[in-house]
Symmetry: D3
Subunit: 308 residues, 6 copies
């Protein structure tokens, strides 16, 4: 369960309003790598976590902190938008002409839709959507996503911080940058602990690793003429999984399969030249019928108790 406390986690007071900066600031609130993303990502990872104890508790703890960060950013935004202009353009330009020059950079939805409040969107107005987050139930892969999310988020925050010299904004962003620095390490150390606790051997996702193609796990394929990529550790080093050396190969077909496709169902009116058989209307060109028949047979057998 969640409780609200009136005070913010950290002060969110700009020295003065700045509607132009507010437009850019939206990116770290509601963008692909904004705070809404890490908030929702950690909440879903925590709620779905099936390992009680330090991992689940840690994710739940940071989830609550991230809600608090989103709150801080929205308050900062609303304060940056103090008195953002809703006047008739012409009147405004007459009384305060340089306004015309800056109006172009304002986020018009701040004026029209939210009435001077934060918007749940990125800096170009794309509504935040859940296609930004990862929550797979597998802590190793999710922690990898979390490191990436914090690193990208921190980079965007740094870029935006360089676009203002408002001391109030920068003081808050100095806090946010620090949290992103810390959180990157939190997830990296989390991966280290997953290994120590036996949830992963190599810190590499390797489910079904016993039957993966062993050879293909040790090759760097290149096709660019004059590529220098072979100089990298990924080509000259050894596997982090089994210690065997990597090698470089020219990217080339490992098969003579040229992707020729079989007959479609004639009732789908797919363009087809008959090369894979008759495909008469109504016959289903045989193949899927067979696939379905397999299931049919099994269902029937099971229902009648016939195990043959």
């Amino acid at each position: 369960m969640y409780r609200h406390t009136r005070e913010l986690q950290f002060t969110a007071k700009p020295e003065k309003p700045d509607a132009l900066f507010a437009a850019k600031f939206q990116e770290i609130l509601g963008g692909q790598f904004g705070e809404m993303t890490v908030m929702m990502q950690y909440l879903f990872q925590g709620w779905n976590c099936r390992v009680p104890g330090k991992y689940k508790d840690m994710i739940m703890d940071i989830g609550a902190e991230e809600i608090s960060h989103v709150e801080m950013l929205t308050v900062m935004l609303a304060r940056l938008l103090e008195g953002a202009p809703g006047e008739a353009t012409d009147k405004a330009a007459a009384a305060n002409p340089a306004l015309a020059a800056v109006l172009g950079g304002q986020n018009v939805q701040h004026a029209i839709v939210s009435g001077g409040g934060a918007r749940p969107t990125d800096s170009l107005g794309n509504p935040w959507n859940a296609g930004y987050i990862a929550a797979s139930g597998n802590l190793l892969t999710d922690f990898r996503s979390n490191v990436a999310a914090e690193a990208q988020s921190r980079l965007m925050t740094s870029r935006i911080a360089n676009m203002t010299d408002d001391r109030g904004v920068k003081e808050m962003l100095a806090f946010n940058l620090a949290r992103d620095t810390y959180h990157q390490q939190q997830w990296l150390l989390g991966i280290q602990m997953l290994a120590e606790d036996g949830f992963t051997e190599t810190q590499i996702e390797r489910s079904n690793g016993d039957w993966e193609n062993h050879d293909a796990a040790h090759v760097f394929y290149t096709s660019t003429n004059g590529s220098a990529a072979g100089e990298g550790l990924w080509a000259t080093g050894n596997s982090l999984v089994d210690g065997e050396p990597f090698r470089t190969e020219e990217l080339r077909p490992l098969t003579d399969d040229d992707g020729t496709l079989p007959a479609p169902d004639p009732l789908q009116f797919v363009t087809y030249d008959g090369n894979a058989g008759p495909g008469k209307p109504g016959t289903g060109a045989g193949a899927h019928g067979q696939g379905a028949q397999n299931v049919v047979t099994k269902v029937k057998d099971a229902l009648t108790g016939d195990d043959s």
Copy 2:
């Protein structure tokens, strides 16, 4: 520039068609963590890369390979959909009754929209969109995203692999799993090289690190009652950046700022009780006018050569 070769990179032949499995298989083609995502992610990272040499070449090389992977998956899908049913439901059910039981699990857009071909969507029909990819111009953060993408992609591939026992499908997936194993390492070793080459000191994104809040970079905040999160290395260990110890603190406000907001522009008809000043229509409540005035003054000064 890119050239096409008729043969696939690897064989993509299922033993037999299976429209139900094809519906699930879409997830690793056009899903958030599917092959379209890594293909587009690496292409954009490579095209935007401003460091010539081994990094750019490596990203370009893998970009070409990933287009080839997407091709393999689409061919596999079209073959799984051979003869997928387009018949009248009732007639089909009469001639082949168990069809009724399995029709529910089919992706109806395979029958209606693509005519038995691969769709650029995930397993539930969401069209692939570019909000899935990361390409920031910063190789450290992008390589972090790439590790995550390969790990999540490999996990989904493993889950789907367990949903079939078609040997043709599994042979191709054994190749894909191996590439994902390799590529995770490629990006991790890439990060190691970025450090060796001096592009990052700590493998942690730390731009503007000189003025971030030093204290906030060393604390784990907890609010869950009885949280065991303090047992983790993120609380008991030392910073990967400066070696200073981490510590755990109760999540609490570090400010008495309660997020109270200032006066809006009256012309936006925002509900407002006058607590922050008069806010008369046309006056813009003062604040933004000041913000705009700052820019105005500077523009005017610059144009008139007044540097005061």
Copy 3:
């Protein structure tokens, strides 16, 4: 700021797992009218609220409760998905044949993407997006949206409740239904208080009401042959704003303006027959140049101090 408490707000224990019901259940978590929507709607409304006191506090309070509701739903979902099938379809069908019949109705992303956890999507897999929420800064209009959101949300919850007879699920839904009943009233009473407090006179949004078209505010327009709509209070009653009677009129043009459009800029290659003048390349067909010129003149005058 927000804090997490380990216990849920209300018990979320199904009697037994049910992957099919879980697929439907997603609608009230991540759908257009699901709990994620009211959670994010209230959070943004609260953070953006410029009236300190009972309204802002009330919105903040309910925001925290709604996060707790989303948490309850995700836990219920993960429990409904206990052991949801990730086996090879054919093997599963052989050992447990009726599985084949029900697999069709399962949400395949529960198996492939979230590994048996809740998804931030609706029942058909559409990712939740912020285009579902309203937060305008105007409490009257937002409270109207809130009544609607609670009503629609409650309706969906009722429909889903009728799709199970699991007593654990129903016990939790009985709590959610009650909260939706209560919250509808909360917003309606909030509107009543806004009127008592003088933030709205008529409970009807009427900004700029002094110059709206008075006549058009009292007519019901009809065009359907034999329409019975004239029998409603909206046609036979009196205005809630000024008490004047409503009337019914045939929907008909109130103008002879037939929507004929003027000349485009020739450089846009719009199909155009010259009917509105020459439209020569470079001249901009006159009009926009004039519009721009108006602004230009004003900016220039302002910068040079010329107020003529």
Copy 4:
């Protein structure tokens, strides 16, 4: 069926073109609360309405009017965009320098994509999508959504109206504002009639109200320190449903359920520590198999005529 009449419902003639205002104007055409939303919302509600007579006819009548409103807005937009600039930026700036200052605020898709025509998007270019509309088949909940849609739409229209002093634009908006005033009342009176006609008792959505949690329907939960929310009618008043008094309680867990999750299917590779049992591959951890078995047994019994 629908017929087109050449004349508009109301005059849509701006005094002069204004590409900057046109960019903002898109919000009330194709935004979340724009006219496209109410048009599509009423059309779907009307077509899906299962009560013949005054309600269905009224919805159908307003649906036709809203198509006419969308038409008016598109014509206004195209006229505001008369001659909007498609020239080479540098040439334009040379001949007409202030153009440079205003180009920033123009919607570039007006120039590039629609060639000076209206776009089916909001003011920031988000394409209109059907996730904005509500049509549930339940008139009470839909009318609640309709009041909200008209109120929000009217608020946006007012805000935009204050951004211009073009008399032609304002004359049309005065008509639109009036219709929004009228339509808010239409839906409120519609709800009143639904009650009079016995389709709802309390004007509160209460399906399955007989078994909802009675206690939870009368409490306001608070968690914010020092919250003033308890002063509102929602805490001090009586239920609109049964007249019983509301009360305020501290938001606290009503359960000791801490959301611990059960065993996943091992084949999903979810991180799991075995706390809920063995979870051997292939056994499905028992639970879902039981759920599926329930259905299996019932299907089998039904097919064999065994009702035991």
Copy 5:
């Protein structure tokens, strides 16, 4: 302006309800190539059309017809959904076991969200969005899009028609198929008339054709090994624009430009190795400053009347 008539354009009565077919049927209502798409496409093209007379009138006429088609489809859908199941799954399965087998194929939003009404989505639940439509202001290119839209729409309709043998459904679809046949011709003949009327010379979009790369307009580039593409008229025929012969060439770089990128702004923290110059913080690496300076100089000159 638009008026509604109570009767449909064509009968929309299925012989009997069929919730499974209704799920598929959504594709031709709210899918990428469904009737909502052509309806909105023609409405926007008509409203934006700047050529009064037969073209604009024709587009407006078909726009009204398409609204009527969307209405027909929604009515058909609601009738197909008559009594679609909202019961508790288990109870339903007990009383009517085969229901369990078919529930999987039902669109659960028909039951949960629309209450047995049509949904503004495709067959997999993607909400219709305006990114499906084209309205460019250029009639030649739009008519090309219209032919395509009608052809794709007709193909989907045919595929769906083959999935039922309900005579009522088929009778309506026979009407829709015919309209799609007719409308394809309408747009093709429209293109022919655009040529006769002098709006296009070659029926090929060729704006700025006077300076396009003449050579590149006559080559087919091939890179696939053993490609048979050179046998087509696009390689062996003559240009439809100037009658000159086409030819086939190997796809190869026409430049030695290898895409190397210049220095970024240092404040963006892009990974950069200094190969293109110093790129010191604050200097903007020179280049953009120059670009901006060009505009600055021009604005300043214009404002001061200096035309040098």
Copy 6:
């Protein structure tokens, strides 16, 4: 399989950076009709093509060329963004004041998200999505979509070309325009060959044409008062399918079906007045139960071998 070559297909060097033009340029990269769209459209059409030989090879060849075009555009964009500003706004304005005037028109995600690289979005920041592409398996309808895509793409390219006079940009666009000219013809000639090869008789999509409504395939319906649409060939000409003359008719209902809907399932709480029968809870209003019963009976009969 695909291989990368270091050199671009064509030079992509602007004379100088121009961040404002770069913002607009995004439209032809990642917009609805940008190069990403044709690239992905041709790739999916090619991979899904079931006719080996010249058609499939041609589509595969152009697919590879389009990847190369996307690459050219991204390189051009990154070069246009050389040194695009990431400085503190105020400092920048002080040192270089006109920057303030142009900042409004910059794409802020170029600065914040991609660090001066191309974005996979349109000019207003909408992420590219697969809902833009067509790949139906039917070559006739896809070639129609391809002509449209090339025509629209070429028009946008022309419009954008007119917004710059940078000779480097124009030289590349002259190449792109020429390719779009050529490709329009390629698809038109492809349709001609499909007819010659017998894959289509009339170049009109006419699947199930034998039972379409013959009369409705020859009428133009009009409803606009005074419509001149009857003057077009679509009204005065003859069918391209069977040579029979077209005619014009008033748009009017061809039925007395007024769209009245039947009883809903009572458990869906749809507003319903009982006019179509009792609709008691639990009875499902009869209808769907019957529909389901049909399938049940057939499944049961098939499984028991009863064909009666």
